[in-house]
């Protein structure tokens, strides 16, 4: 695991601060302008990514962004289920699941809904990046498992899934890095952690194919003054660009290491 990590700091494994739901909202920025975990407002969490995490899969990837840990495996292209209608382009089948120990409260009632929503959003984020016409009549399955939910879960799932697809050798137009952001008062906090997500005024998720300059998935919630929207969007796109480089270099490293 240490190979790909060489250039990126592995996050410290301090115990997660107690995220009890009661209590007063903490102030998300210190007077000096640093965040709860010591980052600057526009600084991303330390990221670690690795492909080939699952042996049985055609391709797989593991990603760790701060406290958020995600594993994605890709199977296929393989024969579509019999029940499905004929399709002359390939199918992308996505599934996102939370591990039952991934959240502080075990198996929350809302988790099933969230899984369904994430599944739909992951599918939309990826489908225009995958060259579906290259595997007609067949299905590629993308199974994502959130091992530890630590904020920005969906964004990490999307980035990790596109790495896994690349690892599986599925033809894509571009990688799809995704970044989430939280807005609090007049500040925007890039790559928000769980606490920032919980107490923020609003949030945004952007997934983009950076070399094609195309946004594949975007959602916003909460109150956004109009000037903040474009600033936040630009910030996310810049972060996506940097994340894309990281993902690319990680993929290259794995290939080089595998060839030796």
């Amino acid at each position: 695991m240490s190979r790909a990590a060489s250039t990126y700091a592995v996050p410290s494994y301090n115990a997660t601060p107690d995220l009890s739901v009661k209590g007063v909202p903490p102030s998300l920025l210190s007077p000096e302008g640093s965040r709860l975990d010591g980052r600057l407002p526009h600084e991303c969490r330390p990221a670690y990514m690795k492909t080939g995490a699952v042996n049985a899969a055609a391709g797989s990837a593991y990603a760790e962004f701060g406290q958020t840990k995600v594993i994605v495996s890709v199977y296929g292209p393989r024969e579509s289920k019999k029940a499905q209608a004929f399709s002359d382009i390939g199918r992308l089948n996505c599934d996102v699941k939370f591990a039952s120990f991934s959240t502080s409260v075990r198996g929350k009632a809302s988790q099933g809904m969230e899984e369904k929503e994430y599944t739909g959003m992951l599918h939309k984020a990826l489908e225009c990046a995958v060259a579906l016409h290259t595997f007609p009549k067949t299905t590629v399955d993308v199974f994502a498992l959130i091992l530890q939910s630590g904020g920005g879960d969906l964004a990490v799932v999307i980035s990790c899934a596109s790495m896994a697809l690349a690892d599986a050798g599925i033809v894509m137009y571009d990688l799809v890095p995704a970044v989430s952001l939280s807005c609090t008062g007049s500040e925007v906090l890039l790559d928000a952690s769980m606490e920032e997500e919980r107490w923020g005024d609003g949030g945004m998720i952007v997934a983009a194919m950076t070399s094609r300059n195309e946004i594949t998935q975007l959602t916003m919630t909460g109150e956004w003054p109009s000037t903040k929207v474009s600033e936040a969007l630009q910030l996310c796109l810049d972060a996506c660009l940097k994340l894309a480089e990281l993902m690319r270099s990680c993929l290259k490293e794995q290939v080089v290491a595998g060839g030796q």
Binding site: D201, N213, E214, T219, M220, W224
Partner: protein, 287 residues
Amino acid sequence: MVALSAAEVRFIQGGIAHDLRSDGRGRYHFRPFSIQSGVIPQANGSGRCKLGATDVIASVKAELGRPPAGRPNHGSLVISVECSPTAAPEFEGRGGEDLSLELQRALERSLLGGPNGAGAAIDLSSLHLLEGKVCWVLYIDTLVLSSDGNLLDALSIAIKAALSNTGIPKVEVLASTSADEDPELDVDNEESSPLDISQVPITITLTKVGRHYIVDATAEEESQMTAAVSVAVNRKGIVSGLTKRGGIGLDPSILADMISVARHVSQTLIPTVDAEIAASESRAAGS
């Protein structure tokens, strides 16, 4: 599913390119709509919106519940969307479920505000009754009766009409309850107070067909879309939620244009909606 011939597809796309759509509208014109208030007597408030052949109902029920975790001084909103198979055959089984969930999440994103409740459609602290114990929970249930495109915008209009029609019963918290006991409440259903709906946003969906984007797409136009962006905007022009739909990517500059067009359209649409709601309420009161 809408079945179109190649000629019809060309006609629709050509019309949009020339800013003259099949039904005579320009790209940024809404279909005429009508609003009916107070259609469900059992609910605390209700509204029905007909937008062209799209027909949706929203009802608001106020129930007493527990404040959300971590926010003892707030009430909460719960939104659900039902696409019944009576509206369209493709809503049967999973098809309806997926669309319902997509619409519901988009509405939640625009109406519930951020994680701490900022930017919510209704000031959530106004729904609070007794700290940490009791608050109002507004259940906003919506039903699609007939679908001819642009469901999300129609739903947001119906919800606004329903909220403006909603009366919250007067509640008196009887004193002399100790800290651990459930408090005693006296609910007076005769007297009710209206909600402040000045912050309720309207969703504007911009549908991209070919190189152009249009508002209020019909089902035929939606079948030709490559991507769509739904922007929730309130009366002050503040964006309170955004959802991208459709599977094709968008250029960031086009996206920024779409947001500003949505805000622009909303500034003429929202007064029309408000006037229409006021008119339907005076009709309902008069009858």
